[in-house]
């Protein structure tokens, strides 16, 4: 697989798009594209684009690369080339930021109001990675990263916000948040077909927070935070309460520089439906909105016509320099979409921005700092390297002015790295009294064992029989549930042997709810959140100064050989014993009441004789 790295301007993608749509002979698209082309011919096109290839360092990939036109250079050369590219882009970046940007805005005929030039240290980057997946689907991953040079930890009052969204900034300062992660996902990431995602997230909504030790009442702060956030992101986060919040002891570690992280809380709402109403407020958090830049592509009609959709917000404190003398806030907004090949591409393994999003890139966000990433398949003379999830890939660099670059997608790009870990979960048994939760965690690595922490949160209405827990865990932390107050929390440290399946089972009993506790659709079933597996020890890299493609640093690791990936299993839908909330049910209740009253009086009538008590006689007990 190949990747374009574009640092500079976006025009070239439009050109690429025009070509693709012409090939497709889509009448509508063609006219659209032709218009675009004309528009762009008018402006001065600057093409400073790099395109990268991604064969990983296993043999199969080398075989793959062999049938591409230019043979891949030897490893040393690759390294060198990569270094060059990186240096180049670094230089461009450093020079570009303040001066070039203004030029660029004037170039594009000032479609935007000129924003005030951001202060030196606030930065905004945007990136789009498009990766054709092994199954034929296309994975598009947007990332928008804002770096905000301010320090809440020392109690500074923030008076102005530049690129950082004010609503979030206020949330951070008010609730003394030191780290915040929200994800909204519609669908389940199919690891076996799609490989490892850049950023795993569970179906539904997930909220995960670290707050500073200055917070006095953690529960109230958490409650308020969820309510405020549910307003900001327009989601039902207000359903997060003590019954679905857990405070894992070991499974979650702060991803940023953690100074004074006192309290962490995690909650998953598997039932949350994600739709355009969540995308719109999310887009508003971008400095350029959805007007320019990559956000133009987020056409909700298309983005939600996909196999998988996930949007997330990550706020972490990061180091500004190598010594970590000063920290800054990093806000990552990611949006991951997988487009289905079968329903959209008519079985052809090709893609274009226009086909995927019904839009093309028109202009860059004038505030942004650096570029876009594409993964494509043609071979390339220039190469760079990046390590994502322990998978070292070599990216080739392309000059997109060269027209020959386009339109030569190989039919098969079969170098998907076999997913290392994936999980599976299901409810076993039948009948309503009891059941058994089975969780399988697969390790496909051929020789490496992973110590993994499994975090299992089970709602209280499934009463776990912990004595039936079968697990190869080395260490177990269990916090029992309290009815209507807190869920079961089960953390297990498990060693996953290479090439193995690890099974964890536990039996449960289904509780009878009070009749007001049933949801409006009780026969749909009740959700149980997914099991989460995280590697137990990973050295996180919290330094943001290192320049590299953004997608490679969703979870920045210090060493390339260590993996930080989270594996979520699917959520479960469990049926609880449900009364028939229909009219017959009401009738039965009513009838029973009438029967009870009627039977009592009838029985009395049948078994007792009534006599008029004569006064003055001895007192006879009534019954």
């Amino acid at each position: 697989m190949l990747a374009f790295v574009l640092c500079g301007l976006v025009y070239v993608f439009v050109t690429a798009d025009v070509q693709e749509t012409n090939q497709v002979k889509d009448a509508e698209g063609q006219t659209h594209a032709v218009e675009e082309e004309r528009q762009w011919e008018a402006t001065e096109v600057e093409t400073n684009l790099s395109l990268t290839d991604t064969p990983s360092d296993n043999e199969a990939d080398h075989v793959q690369t062999c049938d591409r036109p230019p043979p891949p250079p030897a490893k040393d050369e690759i390294q060198e080339a990569a270094e060059e590219v990186r240096r180049d882009s670094l230089e461009t970046n450093i020079v570009d930021v303040p001066s070039d940007k203004v030029d660029h805005v004037s170039d594009t005929k000032k479609t935007l109001d000129d924003p005030p030039p951001p202060p030196e240290k606030d930065r905004f980057q945007e990136e789009l990675v498009i990766r054709p997946l092994h199954s034929g689907d296309t994975y598009a991953s947007f990332q928008f990263r804002t770096l905000w040079d301010t320090d809440f930890f020392r109690g500074n009052k923030v008076l102005y916000y530049q690129l950082f969204p004010k609503s979030l900034g206020q949330v951070i300062s008010k609730f003394s948040v030191s780290e915040l992660h929200i994800s909204f996902t519609q669908g389940y990431w199919r690891t076996m077909q799609w490989g490892q995602p850049f950023l795993p997230s569970p179906p539904g909504a997930e909220l995960w927070e670290w707050c500073q030790d200055t917070v006095t009442d953690v529960d109230i702060a958490w409650k308020e935070l969820t309510n405020v956030l549910s307003g900001i992101v327009c989601a039902s986060l207000n359903f997060i309460d003590s019954t679905n919040t857990v405070q894992p002891s070991a499974s979650f570690k702060p991803l940023g520089v953690g100074n004074g992280n006192a309290f962490s809380a995690n909650a998953v709402l598997p039932r949350e439906i994600v739709c355009t109403e969540n995308l719109t407020p999310w887009k508003k958090l971008l400095p350029c909105g959805a007007k320019t830049g990559l956000a133009v592509l987020m056409n909700s009609e298309k983005v939600f016509h996909s196999s998988f959709y996930s949007q997330a917000l990550h706020i972490t404190p990061v180091c500004q320099d190598w010594q970590c003398k000063s920290t800054a806030w990093e806000l990552k907004r990611t949006l991951n979409v997988v487009f289905d090949l079968h329903s959209s591409g008519q079985g052809k393994r090709e893609w274009s921005l226009f086909k995927m999003f019904s839009r093309t890139l028109t202009e860059a966000c004038p505030l942004r700092h650096c570029g876009e990433q594409f993964e494509l398949s043609p071979a390339t003379p220039l190469l760079s390297q990046a390590v994502v999830l322990g998978d070292r890939r070599t990216y080739s660099v392309y000059d997109l002015t060269n027209q020959a670059t386009f339109g030569q997608m190989p039919a098969e790009s079969g170098d998907m790295l076999r997913p290392l870990l994936h999980g599976e979960r299901y409810v076993a048994g039948y009948g309503l009294p009891t059941g058994e939760i089975h969780t399988l965690v697969y390790n496909h690595h051929t020789y490496r064992a992973f110590p993994v922490l499994l975090l299992d949160t089970v709602p209280w209405y499934l009463r776990l029989y912990i004595h039936t827990l079968t697990t190869p865990a080395i260490y177990i932390h269990y916090q029992p549930s309290k009815d209507r107050l807190q869920p079961h929390l089960l953390e297990m440290l498990v060693q996953l042997p290479p090439n193995s399946v690890t099974e964890v089972t536990v039996q449960f009993e289904r509780a009878l709810l009070k009749w007001t506790e049933y949801t409006p659709d009780p026969n749909h079933g009740f959700y149980v959140g997914p099991l989460l597996a995280v590697p137990s020890v990973v050295a996180m890299d919290t330094n943001s100064t290192q320049e590299r493609p953004l997608f490679s640093s969703f979870f920045p690791c210090k060493e390339e050989s260590s993996y930080f990936m989270r594996v979520y299993t699917e959520p479960l839908l469990v049926n609880l014993p449900t009364p028939d909330f229909s009219m017959p049910y009401n009738v039965i209740c009513l009838t029973c009441t009438v029967m009870a009253v009627g039977y009592g009086s009838l029985y009395n009538l049948l078994t007792h004789t009534f006599q008029v008590e004569e006064p003055g006689l001895r007192c006879v007990p009534l019954l």
Partner: protein
Amino acid sequence: MGLLSDPNRRRALTKLLTRLNAPICVMCYLAGVAWFMGLAFEPFTLRTYMSENAMGSTMVEERFPAGERALATGREFAAHKKKVGGMPVDWLVKTMQSRGLEVFTQSFTRKLPFPDENKERYMVRGTNVYGILRAPRAPRTEALVLSAPCSEGNNNNQAVGLLLGLAQYFRSQIHWAKDIIFLVNEHDLIGMQAWLEGYHHTNTTGGDWSPLQGRGGSIQAALSLELSSDVITSLDLVLEGLNGQLPNLDLANLFYAFCQKIGVLCTIQGKLQRNDWDTTSGYSHAAQTMMLMVLKQASGRPWGDHGLFLRYHIEAASIRGINSFRQYKTDTTTIGRLLEGMYRKLNNLLERLHQSYFFYLMPSLSRFVSIGYYMPAFGLLAVILLLRALDLWVQLGASPPGTEDGVAGGVQVSNGPSSPGVLSILTPVVISHMTGVALYTLPILSQEMAVQHFPVSETEAVVLTAIAIYTAGLALPHNTHRLLQGEGTEEGWRVLKLVALLYLAVLLGCTALINFSLGFILALSLVPIAAFITPHTPKALSAAIMVLLSPGCTLLYCVFVFQELQETPVSLQDGWMLFLSVISQGILDHALYGSLVYPLLALLIYPCWLLLWNILFWK
């Protein structure tokens, strides 16, 4: 008032009850039968209607175009099946994968307790192939199943072809909210059992199968498709599942609604609907349809591959294509459209099907009898047992002299016979149940011995052993009598009969709640003998009647009635052979799928009947 506590009034009441007991019982019995027969009369039944809002009001379009291609796929499947001589696993996997499904296989082996002569199998080894169509943006929590069995010979090739055609078509549709599992199961019910137990990770019957690799969450509904010809005249809906369980009536309504919409002839129990309910033939048609349903339900066996889903609370039905000599033919595209429509509607479900009835009888596809209407028929029969028990109780209370007060007498009665005769009651109860246990266990255990000593096959050995033990039970009263201490008293048989009556009432009541048909048929034959048997009736006549109304003979009549209703009458000889095979099927159903009819009959109903037999021969 004080109707019950006043001795005089109470005595008057009991006297009335005792005097009128026999006529009331006869009346109740006749009323029960009449009520039941009235259920098929159209004005007394309700018209079916869609209860589930999610399926009722939403409109779907059916556009499945590729019937011809599906048939071609079916022919290809047939060719591969013939070549491989069984399930063409590799071809199916490849075909499903090319249609964009996630494909998995499951292998299973099963050794039957004794050879199944109907289907000629003993050691069963097979593979299920299933492909999951993942719904876009769905978190794998809900699924629907469409299954087609891979049968021997040339059967069901079209069903598999249509299944693959639908899979391809569904893959290009965008509106799926639930995963759809396309399952091709080998060895019909055994494969289905293996797949379902694998899916739910249970093992109720001790089979051996490989675990499943892919799942789609909790299954909401399932349809099983059986098609053996390119064109059909009608579609038959099969509802009866394991242990007489039925799917939610909305599933039948859904099928009926789409048949009406698309214009396909649809039948239930193989019988078309008729409009002339006010004529005798119209009524008898409806009654026949309902009787067929009752007999099928009472048998407790799954009448299609769907039958095993019901245990897991998955609403399921089988749809069977029937090609008769009618002029009007329906092609595969139309059936595909029908199924597409049904799946689109099932896909719209927000909750499991739960709105409509789970307990019903259907005299035709558009009419149903709900539990509230048919239960009185059973209740009228069951009340006879209680009336007789009450009568006995009163008699027992009245017989000891010098008990003026009714309450005191009652207490004394309940203590009274226990002093001489706990053993005299316990002995027949225990011995009858021991016979029942023998009937339940010995046929399978002793098959090898029987095969060695008699010139019979294993299956025959099992069936004949069962019949032999059943008949041997008739000789028991003489043996139990030897165990008794002293003479059986008049009081003794009354207490025994009281116990037997109450026992039977509880048994039948519980059975009828779970499987009305079985309970009703058993009540129909057992209640008269239970009500009127005494040691003082003429022995020979009573014995003949009792044998004729015993559970075994009831089964024999049911076989003949069933054949008669299906319009395939059989001669006595064939009927007897059929009866033997029904017994072997019953035992197999219990061993393979966990059907409860055989243990119920052997362990509970038969001993109960033996108790009554004991009373007849009380000395």
